[in-house]
């Protein structure tokens, strides 16, 4: 079972790494004692994560996603909870799509894409804030805090 998992982890590495070192890594795995299999599996997993995040440049997109999520959380604080979640989901999906379908590592390209994504995230936030303001205007939602709103309604009913 551990041998199968190890093969799977190696298969998930980049093709150049697999071609250069895959056979030798399997050979090393075969040489090791059963006690050493767990550290080897952990090592292969960390190596895989490093390659797919740091070395491929995908970390920039992940960082972009995290930053955009933080921006959304900060700017969308005053918006209703359900709307807030849709914003977060939208930003994350946007980042994930860009990360998955981005070109292979090319520093200049990635930096350009990163800047583009940051601009798009900020633009998206601006649009959503505008949309929220329009929504408030159409539905005539008072701009007062939530704790004040029921009190206001109740006072109207009493009248």
């Amino acid at each position: 079972m551990s041998g199968f998992i190890y093969r799977l982890l190696i298969a998930c590495h980049s093709s150049s790494f697999r071609e250069n070192h895959g056979d030798e890594m399997l050979w090393v795995f075969g040489e090791c004692t059963p006690r050493e299999t767990r550290p080897l599996l952990a090592d292969a997993l960390f190596s895989l994560l490093r390659q797919w995040t740091l070395h491929s440049g995908a970390w920039k997109f992940l960082a972009g996603g995290a930053v955009s999520a933080l921006l959304v959380l900060g700017c969308g604080y005053s918006i209703s909870r359900s709307f807030n979640w849709s914003l977060i989901w939208g930003a994350q999906r946007h980042s994930a799509i860009l990360a998955l379908y981005s070109e292979p590592p090319d520093p200049a390209f990635n930096e350009y894409e990163f800047e583009l994504q940051a601009r798009q995230a900020i633009g998206m936030l601006t649009r959503y804030r505008q949309f929220d303001e329009d929504r408030r205007a159409v539905h005539r939602i008072p701009n007062a805090s939530r704790s004040d709103a029921p009190f206001g309604r109740n006072s109207e009913n009493h009248e």
Binding site: F17, E24, W27, V28, F29, P39, L40, D43, F46, L48
Partner: protein, 117 residues
């Protein structure tokens, strides 16, 4: 120390141990792993994933050279690695850097000077 070498320092623990393992002789991947464990009395172990990632980086930088097994009887999957002149210079420079660190440690941490290694 050369200014061009300064930009390459300090070496990461994995890189330092790998270069140190290759300082004495040419080794294949598994032998490097064993040599690293031996040098550190088993306190630092490097796995194949980390090892080959680092070897790729070191080869790209010209610190290490890769070559096929020297004798025909060996497993063809094995690749041997050799420390280049540049790699040896970088390793020496980092060891010199570590010597000054150790000197400072001995000055400010008396327990470091008296402790057994």
């Amino acid at each position: 120390m050369d200014d061009d070498l300064k930009s390459l320092l300090p070496l990461t623990p994995a890189t330092l141990h790998i270069l140190l393992a290759l300082a004495a002789e040419d080794l294949h991947g598994y032998a490097i792993m064993q040599e690293v464990a031996r040098q550190s009395n088993g306190q630092y172990k490097v796995g194949p994933g980390t090892l080959y990632e680092n070897l790729d980086k070191l080869t790209a930088r010209g610190f290490v050279k890769k070559f096929p097994p020297p004798s025909a009887g060996e497993d063809p999957r094995r690749r041997y690695y050799r420390l280049t002149q540049l790699g040896r210079r970088v390793l020496t420079a980092d060891i010199e850097r570590l010597k000054t660190v150790l000197k400072e440690a001995k000055l400010h941490l008396p327990s470091a000077a008296t402790s057994r290694t």
